[in-house]
Amino acid sequence: MEEPFVKTEIRKDENIVYKRTNLLVDRPLSYCPGCGHGVVHRMLMETLEEMDAQQNTIGVGPVGCSVLAYDFMNIDMLGAAHGRAPALATAIKRLWPNKFVFTYQGDGDLAAIGTAETIHACNRGENFTIIFINNGIYGMTGGQMAPTTLPGMRSSTSPYGRDVATMGNPLKITELIATLPGVHYVTRQAVHTPNHVRKTKKALRKAFEIQKENKGITFVEVVSNCNSGWKMTPVQSNKWMEENMFPFYPLGDIKVDGKLIEKKEAAGKE
C-alpha cells in the first residue's frame, strides 16, 4: 500500500499545522464512518486544550451513541441516567463552582426523556454548558423516530414519513429553552463543512468563557448527520441535512448575552 506522493520535504514535525489533539485518547472512535460526533468530540477537546482546562473540567455523558464519550475524552467524566445529565451537572457545578462543567447529550436524551431536567436546569440558570447533538433520530437503537424528527422524515418507526396528524409535531427544544430567563447563550451550529466546524469551535469557546463569569446556562446545539440511521452515505447525508434539516433548524445564534436575537437574523445565513 504505497502512497504515490509519500516523499515531500515538508513532512517534518516542525511543519505540523494540524493534528489530532492529545486530549482525545489514542484509540479508534466507536462511531459510524462520517458521524458528526467525532468532530464535535475533537472540537470540544481542542477548546479545552486551548483554555488549558483539562484538569478543571468535568463532563457528563448521556445515554445514546455518545454514551462511550468517557472512553475518548481524556478528562473527568461521569455517566448519567438517561436524560438526567443536567440534574447531575447541576450537582457537580454547585459542589465545585470553579470547575468547567458540561453535558454532552443527543436529541433522544435531551429532548425526549430528559425534557424536564433540561428545562428546569435552564430555568434555574445553572452555570454549565449543554452540548446538544441533534440528528433528528434515535441513532443508537436503530433509527427510531425522535421528538426532533422532521415532518415527513422516514425513520424505522415511521417508514412512510412522520405524519404530523398522528405522530405529533417536531419539538424545537432549542428555541423553547432560549425563551427561559436563566439561559445566557444559545446557538445552533453544524459540523459538516470546514467553515461550520470553525464556527462550532468558536461557539464552544464562547460558551466556556461565559461559564467563567457565572452568567447562566450556555447551550450549543450541533445539527449533525446520522448516515446509518438515515440509510445514506456520509456525503449524501450531509447534503440531505443541508437541504432538509437546515430550513427547519436554521443555524446561527438564537440568544446572545441573555437577549433573544430577532427571528430574521437568527434564520439568516449560517
Binding site: 502512497e3 515531500t8 520535504e9 499545522v17 494540524y18 464512518p33 458528526g36 456520509p234
Partner: protein, 74 residues
C-alpha cells in the same frame, strides 16, 4: 522564490473511508484507495502534490486521522 506547500499524512488504519474529506478538499488532493485497511475500509490517500495545507480535510474528518503539514519549499 520560496513557495508555501502543504502535505497530509493519513493514519490509514484509523480511516473509516467516509469520504467527507474528499468533498472538503479544494485542490482534489485526496481520493479513496483501491486497497482496504485492516478493518476492511477503503482509506483516504494523497493523490497529487497540489496540497496547500489548508486543513479543511483534517477539520471535517470525524476520526481525526489526518495530520497537516505546511512549509516553505525553494
Amino acid at each position: 522564490m520560496a513557495k508555501i506547500k502543504g502535505d497530509i499524512l493519513v493514519n490509514i488504519e484509523r480511516c473509516k473511508g467516509c469520504e467527507v474529506c474528499i468533498a472538503a478538499c479544494p485542490s482534489a488532493t485526496i481520493a479513496m484507495a483501491k486497497e482496504v485497511n485492516g478493518k476492511g475500509y477503503h482509506f483516504a490517500m494523497k493523490v497529487n502534490n497540489d496540497c496547500t495545507g489548508c486543513m479543511n480535510c483534517a477539520l471535517v474528518c470525524p476520526d481525526g486521522v489526518i495530520t497537516v503539514f505546511r512549509g516553505k519549499v525553494e
